[in-house]
């Protein structure tokens, strides 16, 4: 197996929004390489639709303090409030920076960046919905991804496309580089670097019904986990209310921001019962749960009464065409439904990992509750800073990647400009080579696609919107059995060139381990908070569980749980009503 060596100051793993935003800062200061298992423009930031929150106050009164409060309350008080304040304050410049980089936002009649309503974003601490989401039709993520990529071209950022990072090097407690597998050739590349930034995205493929791309397999989280470093709040996963029924393809919350209404089989606007003040614009956890309850109680629509309806038929066609062109096309293409005249079948879809690699507000990765690993950074969905707590507000993720991607890029470059290169281990690629050859040479009989399907099935059945001790125990047992079978997995492609069979087998390994972390954390959290709904513990329990879960990998590979206090600055926990 050919091994190549490279030396950089900063290595960035992942080229979505967070990775490229970090790269624009880092590469302007020090020698930087960006490694991605895709091409940058394939990253899933491009699938984000509705908008990016910032209290610009371009169309009505707003303030970053209201934004901070909404973020904290939206996250059911598990948000670290110092981080939420950074997010809301820096939001304003983040949006303006993107505009100056060329992002084609929709405009107000005065030519300023237009803003619209989104779930959970309110005026003056919950009085009414506020127009805070800056947007470009329903392809805001696409525009952000393209704009960042275009600026990376302008700045001559160095990309290594289709390089799959499989290990991070840490020596003497400091970051020392990363090891990647090159998909085109099967060669191994060792990158020595002073700093490493993980920006590799989410882990939605543990679920069957998901808005996530096939490539979102938690690689960054998995690498950190195998190093014995902690993962934070992994039990909190967001189920987006409006996935296309049966498919999981995302229909933006912007549909409701523009006036769309959710109805049950009787045509009732059921959100009036669950969130009387802001109704369909309640945060996603509440809307998703309400939808699932309607279906469970027999008021679901369709031949099997297993979905609800997103009604846009009362909106002017010009408004739909101008503001929601892509999602209405998805409904036409994939369900054959015409949103001008027919309501669209929708059901919650696994969407976003609130948890991830714990970091502080500089983006530095934590080795425990307090101490950072010098030179190691994370930003975006892979990280947990924690600005989303137990439930992320819509439009706060496109914001997160820009604010904390930028921060990670700056702090990593500053660190790298003064630090020395940590020494590399004697055989830096040993563990990656053993992982790859182990799978290539396996004579087992289990198939990747079978195990993956069974994992996704048990997660959808047992760890989705509603969870109980029983269901989670079932999921845990299923995952453990699948992990045993995974030891016997084999692939049919034994070649070096573009071996996607091998790639998928490695990804499955990460998925299985991370699913177990999620389920074990969920089983131990005997309360309901944000995206984590335990039917056997339906209330939030601030006395015992107003704390972050910190999961560590035990010597035997088992999941060991510890906890970390939540940072509270301005806002004391209150009951969450909308």
């Amino acid at each position: 197996m050919a091994i190549h060596h490279h030396t950089y100051d900063v290595v960035i793993v992942g080229a979505g929004g967070a990775g490229m935003r970090a790269a624009l800062e880092s590469s302007a200061r020090v020698r930087t390489a960006v490694l991605t298992k895709l091409y940058p423009t394939r990253s899933h930031t491009g699938a984000a639709q509705g908008g990016m929150a910032a209290a610009l106050a371009n169309v009505e009164e707003d303030s970053w303090e209201w934004h901070t409060f909404d973020t904290v309350k939206g996250g059911d008080y598990l948000v670290d409030q110092d981080a939420a304040e950074v997010l809301a304050k820096e939001a304003i410049d983040s949006v303006l920076d993107l505009e100056k980089m060329g992002l084609p936002f929709n405009r107000t009649p005065e030519g300023k960046i237009d803003q619209r309503r989104f779930g959970g974003h309110t005026r003056n601490h919950g009085e009414a919905a506020v127009r805070r989401a800056c947007y470009a039709a329903d392809r805001t993520g696409h525009m952000i991804l393209q704009t960042l990529y275009q600026n990376c071209i302008k700045q001559d950022v160095e990309f290594f496309n289709e390089f799959y990072v499989l290990d991070v090097l840490i020596t003497d407690g400091r970051a020392a580089g990363a090891v990647a597998y090159e998909l085109a050739t099967g060669d191994i590349h060792v990158f020595a670097s002073k700093a490493v930034i993980f920006a590799s995205g989410g882990v939605g493929k543990v679920f069957k019904t998901t808005s996530n791309a096939h490539t979102l397999t938690g690689d960054g989280q998995g690498i950190i986990w195998r190093k014995g470093l902690p993962l934070e709040d992994m039990e909190f996963f967001q189920f987006h209310p409006t996935g296309l029924a049966g498919l999981g393809i995302l229909l933006s919350e912007a549909a409701r921001g523009e006036g769309g209404i959710l109805r049950n089989a009787d045509g009732e606007r059921f959100m009036e019962r669950y969130a009387p003040t802001i109704k369909d614009l309640a945060p996603r956890d509440i809307v998703a749960r309400s939808m699932a309850l309607e279906v469970r109680e027999g008021r679901g629509a369709g031949p099997h009464k297993d979905y609800v309806l997103l009604d846009l038929t009362h909106l002017p066609r010009e408004q739909i065409d101008e503001k929601l062109p892509d999602i209405t096309e998805f409904a036409r293409t994939y369900l054959g439904v015409e949103p001008y005249t027919e309501p669209v079948p929708v059901y919650p879809t696994a969407h976003y990992a609130m948890g991830g690699i714990p970091t502080n507000i500089k983006g530095e990765v934590l080795r425990d509750n307090e101490n950072a690993i010098p030179g190691l950074y994370a930003a975006g969905e892979v990280a947990c800073v924690s600005v989303h707590g137990s439930n992320r507000l819509g439009t706060n993720s496109l914001l997160d990647i820009n604010v904390f991607g930028r921060r990670a890029g700056i702090y990593a470059a500053e660190y790298a400009s003064t630090a020395t290169q940590a020494g590399l281990p004697a055989d830096p690629s040993a563990s990656v080579i053993s992982l790859v050859t182990g799978l290539l040479e396996s004579a087992g009989s289990e198939r990747v696609s079978t195990l993956r399907t069974e994992l996704q099935q048990t997660m959808d059945t047992n760890a989705q919107v509603f969870r109980t001790e029983m269901s989670l125990k079932q999921a845990e047992q299923d995952i453990q059995a699948l992990r045993e079978r995974y030891k016997n997995v084999a692939i049919s492609d034994k070649g070096k060139r573009f071996n996607s069979d091998l790639l998928e087998a490695i990804e499955l390994g990460f998925l299985l381990e991370l699913a177990e972390v999620m389920v074990v954390g969920a089983r131990a959290r005997n309360e309901s908070r944000g995206g984590h709904m335990r039917e056997d513990y339906p209330n939030r329990d601030d006395v015992n569980f107003m704390r972050h879960t910190m999961a560590y990998r035990g010597e035997d590979g088992s999941v060991q749980l510890d906890y970390k206090p939540v940072v509270v600055t301005r806002y004391q926990p209150m009951e969450r009503k909308y």
């Binding site: 895709l38 198939r447 060139r497």
Partner: protein
């Protein structure tokens, strides 16, 4: 008086969706074992609502794990899975089985080197994109807040902002097939997006690049690109607008 008991209206049983057999014919090539590309056929069961991408998943899961293709989002926004499906360039995740005959032929997109099965070398494609300076060029002091732009000015380049760099257009262009030097329609779309952006001040330098021998003038308006675009961009029209801008030096 007789009490009338309403009989529940009989509900017709909902017919289960019917799977049918699809023969998937794939242009395969493994550089480590094959000297030439060749056709292989596989039979799979598929539902009308399945995407052509699902057919490939099925072949990979049930017949041959070594089948290689790029994919990511699976709903037409990431641009990974442009392929020639029954002779026309499409994203495999945007074509449904219900719209397909019982045999579906799948080949890699043309004009770019086949690396393995449906994977082609994308580098020449991205190189052409980078060559047209696809980024906002401004001079002088930036505004404190945002640049202002009227809704009308924003609308002028809206169509070309939709591009996802899938290469369906460029690899459907006969001029691009005939020699690899022409920038291809995507690069012109990428340039159009900035040439017609009222904030941009790089029009002259960008137009000079496109005025090159291998630039816009190679376009023969065959409309293949417009037909192929999965985002519905009116590419031939955009190219015509760039040609006009070059002729009159005015946007």
């Amino acid at each position: 008086m007789t009490a009338v008991i309403e009989e529940p209206t009989a509900v017709a049983p909902i017919p289960a969706p019917v799977a049918r057999t699809i023969t998937v014919k794939i242009r395969r090539f493994n550089p480590e074992t094959d000297t030439e590309p060749h056709w292989e056929s596989y039979d799979v069961q598929a539902f009308p609502t399945d995407r052509v991408l699902n057919l490939l998943f099925k072949v990979k899961a049930e017949h041959d794990g070594s089948l290689t293709f790029r994919r990511s989002c699976a709903h037409g926004v990431c641009g990974s899975d442009a392929m020639r499906i029954n002779g026309v360039n499409r994203l495999a995740c945007k074509v449904l089985v219900k719209d397909m005959p019982s045999t579906v032929t799948i080949e890699p997109i043309k004009g770019l080197k086949q690396e393995k099965d449906l994977v082609v070398d994308m580098e020449p494609f991205f190189e052409a994109y980078r060559a047209v300076k696809p980024f906002l060029i401004t001079y002088g002091q930036q505004p404190t807040k945002e640049y202002t732009q009227s809704a009308h000015d924003r609308e002028r380049f809206d169509d070309t902002t939709k591009c996802i760099l899938c290469a369906a257009c460029t690899s459907s262009c006969p001029v691009y097939w005939s020699d690899g030097k022409y920038f291809g329609p995507q690069a012109i779309v990428g340039a159009h997006r900035f040439i017609f952006d009222s904030r941009d001040q790089g029009t002259e330098e960008r137009l000079e690049i496109l005025n090159d021998r291998e630039g816009v003038w190679r376009c023969r308006t065959t409309f293949n690109c417009t037909e192929a675009c999965p985002r519905g961009i009116e590419i031939t029209k955009a190219i015509a607008e760039v040609k006009k801008a070059l002729l009159f030096r005015r946007v």
